[in-house]
């Protein structure tokens, strides 16, 4: 709506090359169809408030999202420190009661999954990269986009407020399973859980506003020549994740509403007859398992919402820094779409031992393992991209390699869990905790870090220090791996998750040493993150100037008129795209990369295969 759109009057957009002849019969090999859409005319803020606070430029919104998400991430990190302090050295932190511990676990889990990773990938990277990578001036509804961020901001504020209400934040586990979540006996079952539910609802509403923007921008506002099959995989990942979010968040919203009503009005959606402290409560007839279905109908797609953008981004990073086209692009796209579609049919693999209809086990085990096939294709294609590449072993590539190792490790343990029978002994033990930290806590985090090192020059114009970056990487990767790899074996012993302390069981005592080791590693890894923050500050002050396109990348975001790009992204002419984003090391070409904007006539002598 943000443009002069007239039904039948198609305005010929300015183009960077001369159009010859009438439509469709142009013999020129550089022919690109004329613009279907008129230029988007943007709202330019003039005051401080409209330029930096209520800004409608997707790039600024992206940075706002990013910083807010990183803030929540740091909170989550500190909470994980406190948890590890208790688990490794019980009694050392005198103030730590079981109540506190459970509140920390819950807030840690929820913050990390929803407010940190989801917001960072979709709100942060999504906003910054989508318009740039598809060649748009901005998101299609900048105003709604701005509201989206502020809604997210309010959601975070409400979430953080719950730390300060009487009773503290909710301690019901991030899965919020009723009846426990809203009954006494769980910390924060008063104001804490209500604020959590409200915050989640706000998050969903805010995300919906942003998500509509991402989807419509990708579907309806690409630049000339940018077909879907020429989009960088980053965009495919974010796009599919957004689709998942639009269809999965409703289940979260609905379950939040229903639980709020159970809590506030005393309805019994999820509440059966309950006896507490010798008294029968005013509930009856509800079904706790219904909540679990709703939650995981959201929850499983959610884990792919944080995984798919990571898949996309890592593909781009690997391709750029291996100086080689991504292997099997088409397969990669179909795999992303396939994983996305399948992820709506596997939710109950989190519920194998929940007491649901036991026959569901067969269905969900099968669908769950089927997902491994497209995922496997992605893994193969990443390593096949490295094969015969010309791999720059820089910080960005290191993060990518770290991602592959941790993701495959975590994915394989997912296969353990997905196979019903194997899940029975391992469910609700530390094996699960190890699985999801490997595959979600560490793997996508590696991608985020890689992406930060990769795109920082675009955002700020300066290159982050490689030396500090390498320290950051090795401490994080080796540290995190040594946290979570041994943790699987805690699960084998049978240590259940969400245990405040566990040393009074005879066969668990043997794990004391491991727990101490894990905690120490966790402290180091957490502390290592401050290297990055130091690096960022130092670089902003006196880092090396990056110049244009420091990585010799092909995709559009590096080919803007100025670096960092300004509002409107591409100066007065939108770029025209002639090829996919992966023409690296094309035989016969002068350089080892051909930007997407290079017309075929300029590289006629090369052997470009796919355009």
């Amino acid at each position: 709506m943000s443009d002069d759109y007239n039904d039948n009057k198609i305005i010929q957009a300015q183009s960077s090359e001369v159009m010859g002849g009438s439509a469709g019969v142009n013999p020129d090999m550089d022919y690109v169809r004329p613009s279907e859409l008129p230029e988007q005319d943007l709202y330019h803020g003039h005051t401080f408030l409209t330029k930096w606070v209520f800004c409608q430029d997707a790039k600024v919104i992206g940075v706002q999202y990013f910083l807010t998400a990183v803030f929540t991430g740091v909170v989550g990190l500190i909470l994980s420190w406190l948890m590890r302090l208790q688990l490794g050295f019980p009694g050392l932190a005198g103030f730590m009661t079981a109540e506190h511990y459970y509140q920390f676990v819950t807030m840690h889990g929820m913050i990390m999954v929803v407010y940190f990773l989801t917001a960072l990938f979709l709100g942060g990277f999504g906003n910054y990269l989508i318009p740039l990578m598809v060649g748009a001036r901005d998101m299609v509804f900048p105003y709604v986009n701005m509201l989206s961020f502020w809604m997210f901001f309010v959601a975070v504020a409400v979430l953080m407020a719950s730390f300060f209400v009487p009773g503290g934040p909710t301690g019901s586990g991030w899965t919020l399973y009723p009846p426990q979540a809203i009954l006494e006996g769980t910390p924060g079952s008063g104001a804490g859980i209500l604020l959590m539910l409200i915050s989640l609802s706000l998050f969903v509403i805010g995300f919906t506003m942003g998500g509509l923007n991402y989807l419509i921008t990708i579907l309806q506002a690409r630049t000339r020549g940018m077909t879907l099959m020429r989009m960088p995989l980053t965009i495919w990942g974010i796009f599919t994740a957004t689709v998942l979010a639009m269809l999965a968040f409703p289940a979260l919203l609905v379950s939040s509403i229903m639980m709020t009503l159970d809590k506030v009005l005393g309805t019994s959606f999820f509440m059966p007859t309950i006896l507490k402290a010798g008294e029968v409560l005013e509930y009856g007839g509800g079904s706790p398992i219904l909540f679990q279905h709703l939650f995981w109908f959201f929850g499983h797609p959610e884990v792919y919402i944080v995984a798919l953008p990571a898949f996309g981004i890592v593909s781009d990073l690997i391709s750029v820094h291996a100086r080689k086209n991504i292997f099997g692009y088409r397969m990669m796209v179909w795999a992303i779409v396939g994983i996305g579609a399948l992820s709506f049919f596997v939710w109950a693999h989190h519920m194998y031992v929940s007491g649901m209809n036991p026959w569901f086990g067969f269905f969900f085990a099968s669908t769950t393992l089927i997902i491994a096939v497209p995922t496997a294709m992605k893994v193969y294609n990443w390593i096949l991209t490295l094969w015969r590449g010309n791999i720059r072993i820089n910080t960005v590539m290191l993060w990518c390699l770290g991602f592959i190792v941790t993701f495959v490790n975590g994915g394989i343990t997912g296969i353990f869990l997905g196979n019903v029978t194997v899940d029975v002994p391992l469910s609700d033990t530390y094996f699960v905790v190890a699985h999801f930290h490997m595959v979600m806590g560490i793997a996508p985090l590696m991608v985020i870090m890689g992406a930060v090192y990769h795109w920082f020059p675009l955002v700020s114009g300066r290159l982050l220090s490689e030396k500090l970056g390498k320290w950051h990487f090795w401490l994080t990767f080796l540290g995190a791996y040594s946290i979570y790899f041994p943790m699987h074996y805690l699960g084998f012993i049978g240590v259940p998750r969400r245990y405040f302390e566990m040393y009074d069981s005879p066969y668990m005592t043997s794990a004391v040493g491991m727990n101490e080791f894990i905690s120490l590693a966790a402290f180091i890894v957490g502390a290592a993150q401050f290297i990055l923050i130091f690096n960022v500050i130092k670089t902003l002050k006196n880092g090396k100037k990056a110049g244009k396109n420091p990585w010799q990348a092909n995709s559009l975001e590096w080919h803007t008129s100025t670096v960092p790009p300004e509002h409107g992204n591409f100066g007065d002419r939108l770029p025209v795209v002639h090829r996919w984003a992966y023409d690296y090391s094309v035989p016969g070409a002068k350089e080892d990369y051909i930007p997407q904007t290079t017309p075929p006539s300029e590289v006629a002598h090369t052997e470009v295969e796919k355009t």
Binding site: M1, S2, D3, D4, Y5, D7, I10, A23, G24, N26, Y31, V32, R33, P34, E36, L37, D41, L42, V140, F141, Y143, T208, G211, L212, L215, I216, L219, Q220, A221, R222, T223, R224, G225, T227, L228, M229, R230, M246, L247, F249, P250, A251, V254, S255, I257, M258, L261, L265, G266, T267, S268, F269, G284, G285, G286, S287, L290, H293, L294, V577
Partner: protein, 237 residues
């Protein structure tokens, strides 16, 4: 609504057309306005919201061993002492369908740039919606008067009241939002925001365009659509 003629690109029909639209550059939904595409995707998301509500309702109703109240008795209206089942609901349904019809016509006249007809029809729709909400308020107060509460009711399973108030409440909320926007747009039409180039919005560069009426219409028809399902599952089942 109409397809722009796209230079150098012949729009193919059917599934072939779908393939070529998907494979083409710039836009996937050829000739579909951004706002309209957005509304469709939003409605898709909203469909999932209502589906989750209705699925929960189905699961809740299926798994309670307590008898479910018989809707045609609970929702009966006494006319001259004789209980007429679902009378009010029937009237509400007809009101909502009527407003859907006026909305459809408003969209048509909007595209024909027939300011007067469009404006009046939008206003009529808004009034239809308002009537619907009013009757819903009446229905709620009647039920509350009879002792139906979200946490229990005298007729049977407690979940009956819970789901009833939640789902119709959420639907009524959608209707109310719609009514507010219908009034705003009726004002905009009469105030001439759509004349000529279209007036720019506040704090944005959007220009008003009659396509907004279609977008609003999509929303309104969706509300009607949801009612069709609620009517079937809640009142007739």
């Amino acid at each position: 609504m109409s397809d722009p003629k796209i230079d150098g690109f012949e729009l193919k029909p059917g599934f072939k057309g779908m393939a070529s639209d998907t494979g083409s550059d710039q836009t996937m939904f050829k000739g579909v306005h951004w706002g309209k595409a957005m509304m469709w995707i939003f409605l898709l998301s909203d469909t999932f919201v209502f589906s989750c509500f209705l699925i929960s309702y189905m699961k809740g109703r299926a798994s309670t061993p307590v008898d479910w109240p018989i809707p045609s008795e609970v929702f009966a209206l006494h006319v001259g002492g004789v209980p007429v089942p679902l009378l009010l609901i029937a009237i509400m349904t007809f009101v909502l369908i009527t407003s859907s019809g006026t909305m459809a016509l408003a969209v048509k006249y909007g595209y024909e740039k027939n300011k007067k007809m469009c404006g009046w029809l939008v206003l009529a729709t808004a009034i239809g919606g308002l009537t619907f909400v009013g009757m819903q308020v009446f229905e709620w107060s009647k039920l509350i008067h009879e002792g139906v509460r979200p946490w229990g009711n005298p007729f049977g399973a407690a979940q009956f009241g819970s789901f009833f108030f939640m789902i119709t409440g959420f639907h009524g909320f959608h209707v109310s939002i719609g009514v507010i926007f219908l009034f705003i747009y009726a004002y905009k039409i009469f105030a001439g925001h759509y004349d000529g180039e279209g007036k720019r919005g506040w704090f944005t560069t959007m220009r008003s365009d009659y396509v907004e009426i279609e977008i609003l219409g999509l929303y309104w028809h969706f509300v009607d659509l949801v009612w069709v399902f609620i009517f079937a599952f809640f009142y007739l089942w």
